[in-house]
Symmetry: C2
Subunit: 483 residues, 2 copies
Amino acid sequence: MLAIMEFSDHTTNDLESLFSPQSIAVVGASADTTNPGSRYVKQLLEFGFNGKVYAVNPKGGEISGLKIYTSLAAVPGPVDYVISTIPADLVPQLIQDCADKGVKLLQLFTARLGETGIPERKQLEERIASLARRAGVRLVGPNCRGLYRPDKGLTFRFTSPKAKGDVAFISQSASHAAELMNRAEFRGLAFSQIVSYGNAVDINETELLDYYAKDPNTRIILAYIEGVRSPDFPKVLKAATRRKPVIVFKVGRTAAGARAASSHTGSLAGSYTIWQSLMQQCGAISVTSLEELVDTAIAFSKLPAPEGRNIGAAGAGGGGSILSADEFELQGLHMPPLPEEVLDELKTFLGDAWMMIKNPVDTSVVPPAVWGVEKVRRILTAVAKNPLYQILVCDSGEWFPDSAADVSKYQDIVSLFLEVKKDIKKPVAIVMRPADHAEEWRWRGLMEQQQCCVQAGAAVFPSVGRAARALSKFVDYHLPPRV
Amino acid sequence: MLAIMEFSDHTTNDLESLFSPQSIAVVGASADTTNPGSRYVKQLLEFGFNGKVYAVNPKGGEISGLKIYTSLAAVPGPVDYVISTIPADLVPQLIQDCADKGVKLLQLFTARLGETGIPERKQLEERIASLARRAGVRLVGPNCRGLYRPDKGLTFRFTSPKAKGDVAFISQSASHAAELMNRAEFRGLAFSQIVSYGNAVDINETELLDYYAKDPNTRIILAYIEGVRSPDFPKVLKAATRRKPVIVFKVGRTAAGARAASSHTGSLAGSYTIWQSLMQQCGAISVTSLEELVDTAIAFSKLPAPEGRNIGAAGAGGGGSILSADEFELQGLHMPPLPEEVLDELKTFLGDAWMMIKNPVDTSVVPPAVWGVEKVRRILTAVAKNPLYQILVCDSGEWFPDSAADVSKYQDIVSLFLEVKKDIKKPVAIVMRPADHAEEWRWRGLMEQQQCCVQAGAAVFPSVGRAARALSKFVDYHLPPRV
């Protein structure tokens, strides 16, 4: 622990400068384009890193038109940042080479170290950390994918989103880093940075948290943590949550999970009960799945602050309406019936049919195709504008058109939701089922509407239950419940 | 309540004969093909109902090549079953017409009755129930979609699955009936029957439950219930669960939900705590969402009975592995580490790399494309066959190929999972993320693999968490936890 503490007074400028390399060498890249090092090289070139990219491998050769240098020393210019994909046994020598070359940051994709639980591997990991410390080389990892920074052209996977956003994600798991990036892109969430930081023998969750808390380009911080490395974590977390929302997914909630965490990144998960109380005391937002991490980020990223807990809703199907009421109520939100003045307004243009309108407004009972878009717009607007409701939830309902012609009915509903959203300053959540249909035309019809909502900046959730959980965390953050 | 009780001694043969009509008249169908009655006529013809279908409307005309009769009396042959889509005010006269024509069963799609909460509408509903009782006409509904029976060619929606299955679903909500049908088809679940039964003024949950409990073509019963109508429900439920699994999704878990239930089908939801204890005492399986209803049905329908609570797993990504361990443990299942004999076997063909193999086996650490399919097959088989594990869970991981060529890597993994499944008598659950990708080739690649699993009879779940919840209910049913 002492070793790590030596760096606790690093300022965030350290990471900002370390994470802004002008030149990168991938040690382990080869002419075989399937190996991880070669993939890093191709990813950086494809993503458009605009500094220098070098490949290093004692075997030499060529990759993507680049010469492969046989050693780091042989690289002609300076190197700020090294990505290592070589076996763990070779890393001690690499650290010496980095020091000699003036490399400031080394990211170890290299694994089979502390996480194996094997004593000599743990010792090797400790030796690597200690050598790097003495050599003045900072480490990301080992056992990680490293940095994604669209503003600097850094990435750790192909087809990474180019959009620059204001959400930072620190992830102890590489696969979670990639999965969240995919899922988030699809839902219109863009990142300032993502760091997959693995075993965290040097740069750890606490230093990263401190950095993103102070980073002016980051508005929301997400974290996936298996085990905390620094005793400063609570202090830094508390300071971070005073500046911006910090949403944390911690695993190792059970003994089996803790064991798995230990054998993934060598983390000590600790007691989850204590963790929960720590989260609360520090003002962090705690979630329990990757899906919930994305959902909650969507709420914070896309919605204006709510002014109350009452939900006015549009739903599809009576069963769905009851389910909504249950889900929101169970999450500490409310779905009060339509007030008299709304009913009175409905009576003016609906006649007897006013009696079929409730909260949620069941759009399957008043399909725009039958009732006319104008009438349904008036109904939705009457609910949306009423001050009783501070949050709006629009569920587009089950999407299962009988024919391609039916697709337009769904479009009518979704367009109405987007119109309501445009007119209203309250938070508006849109619920759309996953587009996992077996038929292409069904998939396409739903996907197009989803992407239309995403492009309009809407907060889209795949189920009412998931919307309810995310909104609940979002509302609790802005309007803490009285205890 | 008395009114309903008069029918409590009906035997199941009553419903079997009522639900097997030779001739159906849709009263309310018209030349306008968008109206609900016209849709029923077209749905029955398209689905292939092989009895007679008649359309009735005082305006006459023609629909889908069928003459529209101006009254029920004008229909030339006998009519067993009438579907009504006419306004509620006209239903009392229709009941008289049904009685005159010898109709035995009347399904009221007709709504705006008790569910509105308006006293005169409730009275009209009671009058309808009482008239039908006196006339000897049984009622399904009002405010419902009625029957889906692939073996008899009955349906309430277009593009209904033709496959005959052994799962019955009774649903107080029409939209949930349709949504579950869609979602279930996609995942390879086929039905004996589905009944959307709405306000349940005559045929209610209890009579339906009794019928399906005794129905030789039904092996599993699913129910979506807003409020119970018959005091015999607990007795009938208990008897039903002695014969087959009964999985119940009850809404109205909160005050707001209960209010919504009342205004959907006029149901009194009652206390959810009492409901939970009733479910337990009766041996029913209780779920809290439509997704969980499908997931749990998939487990019961596709998997052999488990012989223990220990899970051997394949996962993708270290973070995913920890998440799995947490999710299963939280649901009362276990994920013990690999036993010595498995590790010893792995050492014989993996060399040092054995140290990277854990439970779950991380297929991203040992990708078949790099390690060779044969080696990964041997790893998975060693885990699958070990008697320590009584259940297998295979998570195909995040699906986000870089290119179309990458799709084959995913296919390799999924094929291996299916091979393991074929060789093993234990329950095998496969986890595949929803195919809701924005790019067609990604959607198609994933969807084809999903459908491949479904066609192989696999139990496929969209997330580890959902698999864990469903498997937990399934295991508890077969191996009740010691209290």
